[in-house]
Symmetry: C3
Subunit: 283 residues, 3 copies
C-alpha cells in the first residue's frame, strides 16, 4: 500500500516533453504494484506478436492514466472491477483487476460487494459471472479466506429503507425518478426503490462514495445508460465526490471501454456540471 | 407445466409488507420449476463467497419479477433466451435459460427459432453462438432428440413475402421505414424486407407474438437500438400484445441487462403509448 | 486472391427474381475463399439442429452482403475483424475472420495493427483479447511466422504528431473536438491527441483508409458511439473513402452486429452526407 500511494502521488500531468521511456517506467512501477508481479504477464504474453501493444498498455494505461492523481488506486480498482464486470466481455482482465484490487487495499468482502452492485446496472448474469471470476482469484491467493459475505438482514421495511437511501444519493432527483415512472411501470419503480436502493445500496459492506464511483464507471463503460449516468454523476457529487473525481473516473474508462465511452461520459458530466452551477463545486 | 402455471398466477404485486422470506420461498418454488432442479445450482455455487447474491437472485429475480402475472412463463423464457443470446456475454446463463425454456413448454424447435431470430437484432455471431449453447443443452437432455429444424422452402418471392410480413408487424410504419432508407442505402432496406421479414419473420416455427416479445426483449437488453425498440413495441401491440405485456417484458429485462436498460425501455414505451393514444389500448 | 476478386466483382445487386439456390451457391464460393475450406465448418456445425441458419449465413451473409461490390474482400475483412474485436463477445467468429483476413490478403502484421487500433474504440481489454485470438490463429497456420510487430519509435513529439494526424483525418472538426473538451477534461483531450492519434493512428503498419474503415465498422457495431461514428464517417471521406464505401461498411455490419446497428449507422451517414453537401461527393 505504501509503495502504491507513493507511485500514485508521484504522477505528473505529463506533457509532450516527457519521453516514452519515462512514461513506460512510471507505468511499469505502477503495474507491478497493481499486478503484484515483478515481471508483468501482459508484457510477456504480447512479446511474440504485439510487443508494442504491451508497451502502450503500460505507458498509456498505467503511466498516463492510472498514475494520475485525483483518485486513489483503491478507488480506481473499484471503478475498473465494476466496469469490467458490467461489460461482461473481458473475463481475463476482470480476474486481473480483481486481483489488483486486493493488492491495493480492497478487501475480498468489498470485491464481492462491487460485484453484487453490478446486478443493478448490468443485470444478474453480469453479477453472477463476476462472482465466478472472484472465486477463481480468491482460490489462487493463499492470503484470502473465502468467508461468505452474508450480511445480517437489514433493518426496517425495504421500500422505506430504499427511499431514504435514494434521497441520500439522488436528492430531490430521486423523487422525480420515482414520480416519472409511476404512470406506466409503477412496479419497476418499486423494484428500483426496494431492490436497487433498499437491498443493494443499503448494504453496509461498501461505502456510498465507492458505490457511486462504481456506478459512474459502469454507466460510462456500458455506454447505453446516458440518463442514468447523469443521475449518478449527480449522485457521486451528492455523496462527497468532487467534480475532479467525476472527470477522473470517466477519463479512466478510456482505457477499459475505449475513447468513445469516455468522451460521451464527459459530455454527460458537462451537462450535469452546468445544471448544478456552483452547487457542490470543488474543482 | 401445471405447477409452473400455478406458481405463476399465484404471484402478487407485493408490497413492502411482505417479508424477504416470503419472496424467497415464492422465488425458490418458481426457480425449481424453471431450472428443473430441487436444489438450484445458483444457490450452491454462491454459498462460498456471495450467498446474499444467491438470495437476491431468487427473491428479486424469481420471487418479484418472474412471478409476476402478465406474461406466461413460456413467454418470459422466450424473452430471456432472446435477450441473453443477443447480448452474447453471458453463456452460462444462456444455457440455463434455454434449459428453463424447455422446462416450461418451449419446444426445442422453438428455441432454435428464437436463436435464428437473434441474427436480425444482434448479428450472425450471436445466433451462431446461441445455437452452440442450445446444442450443449439439448445433448445433456435425454428427452430432446436433436431433430434438424429444416423448414420447407417458403412459398413465393422473398421480397413480396417480406413486405407482407412487415406490413403485418409494423402497419404503415413499415412503409415509412422502407421509404426513409431508400435514399442512401436502398440495399440495406431490401435486406430488411427480404432477409429479416421474408426469411426469418416468415418462418412458421414461432408465432408472431412470440417473435415480437423476443424483439422487444432484445432491443431493450442491447440498449443500442432505441428507434428499433419503438418500432417493435408498436409491432408487439400490432400482433396482439397488450400494453401490459410490453411493460412486463421490458421490466423483466431489469434482471438480465440491468435497470438502466429497463428504464430506457420504459421511456420508449411511454413515447409509443402516447403516440398511439387510445389505439389498441387494453391496459 | 484471384478467385476472391472474381467472385467479388461478379456480385450483382440481386433482386427478388434470384433464387435462394443462386444466392447460396454464390455465397458458398465466397465462403470457401474467405474460410479456406472446401467444406465450410459453419454448415457442418449447424446440420444437427439448425441447418437453415447455416443456409442463411451463406446465402445472406456471403451471397448477399459480402459479395457486394464497393469494397474489396480485404477491406471487408479488415472491417469485420475490427468490429468483432471491439464487440468482444464473439471469440469463435473473431478467430474465423482473422483467419479469413489472412486468406484474402491481409498480412499478419496488419491483423495485429487492426487489433491495436481496437484499443482506441473499445479499450485495452478488447485489444488484448483480440491479440490472444490472433495468436491462436497464427499458431495453427504453418504459413505464418509470428514475427513481433515492433515498430521503430515514431519520430518527433507525440502531441505534435497526433495533432497533425488528427488534422489529416478530421480536418477542422479535429480542432473542434480538441477545443470542446478543454473545459472540463483537458487531459482526456490530450490522450486522444497523444495516444489515439500520436501513438496508434500514426503507426506505419496500416494505411489510413483501412484504419478509418475499421473505425467506422467498430463505432457502428458497438452502437454506443454515435458522435464518434459521425466524426469517423467524415474521417473516412477525408482520407479517400467514398460515400458508397461508407454505406457498404455500415451495411456489412448488419450481419455481424444486427440490423439495428446498421440502420442507426446509416442514419448517422445520412446526417454527415447532408452536412457535407456536395463536398467530396462521389456516389
Amino acid at each position: 500500500m505504501n509503495s502504491a500511494e507513493h507511485v500514485h502521488h508521484a504522477s505528473p500531468h505529463s506533457s509532450g516533453s516527457e519521453t516514452s521511456d519515462e512514461r513506460f517506467e512510471r507505468g511499469l512501477a505502477l503495474l507491478r504494484t497493481v499486478g503484484g508481479q515483478e515481471h508483468p504477464a501482459v508484457l510477456d504474453s504480447l512479446a511474440d506478436i504485439a510487443p508494442d501493444l504491451g508497451h502502450m498498455t503500460v505507458a498509456f494505461g498505467y503511466g498516463d492514466v492510472l498514475s494520475r492523481p485525483g483518485l486513489t488506486l483503491r478507488e480506481r480498482q473499484i471503478a475498473t472491477v465494476g466496469a469490467l464486470a458490467a461489460m461482461g466481455n473481458a473475463a481475463p482482465q476482470l480476474r486481473f483487476h480483481i486481483d489488483g484490487a486486493l493488492n491495493v487495499g480492497v478487501s475480498p468482502a468489498e470485491v464481492v460487494e462491487i460485484l453484487i452492485h453490478t446486478a443493478v446496472y448490468a443485470g444478474f448474469p453480469a453479477a453472477l459471472n463476476g462472482i465466478g471470476a472472484a472465486r477463481e482469484v480468491f482460490e489462487r491467493r493463499p492470503d484470502v479466506t473465502a468467508t461468505p459475505v452474508d450480511s445480517e438482514p437489514l433493518p426496517g421495511d425495504r421500500y422505506e429503507r430504499g427511499l431514504a437511501k435514494l434521497a441520500e444519493v439522488d436528492g430531490h432527483a430521486g423523487d422525480q425518478v420515482v414520480a416519472s415512472m409511476r404512470d406506466i411501470a409503477p412496479d419497476l419503480t418499486r423494484y428500483i426503490v426496494e431492490f436497487a436502493f433498499g437491498d443493494v445500496y443499503s448494504r453496509p459492506g461498501l461505502d456510498l462514495k465507492s458505490r457511486e464511483l462504481a456506478s459512474v464507471a459502469m454507466c460510462t463503460a456500458l455506454g447505453t445508460a446516458a440518463p442514468q449516468l447523469r443521475v449518478h454523476i449527480n449522485g457521486l457529487l451528492n455523496v462527497g465526490g468532487s467534480r475532479e473525481e467525476v472527470v477522473e473516473v470517466i477519463t479512466q474508462m478510456a482505457g477499459y471501454a475505449g475513447f468513445p465511452a469516455a468522451l460521451n461520459g464527459i459530455a454527460a458530466a458537462r451537462e450535469v456540471f452546468e445544471e448544478r452551477g456552483d452547487e457542490g463545486r470543488r474543482v
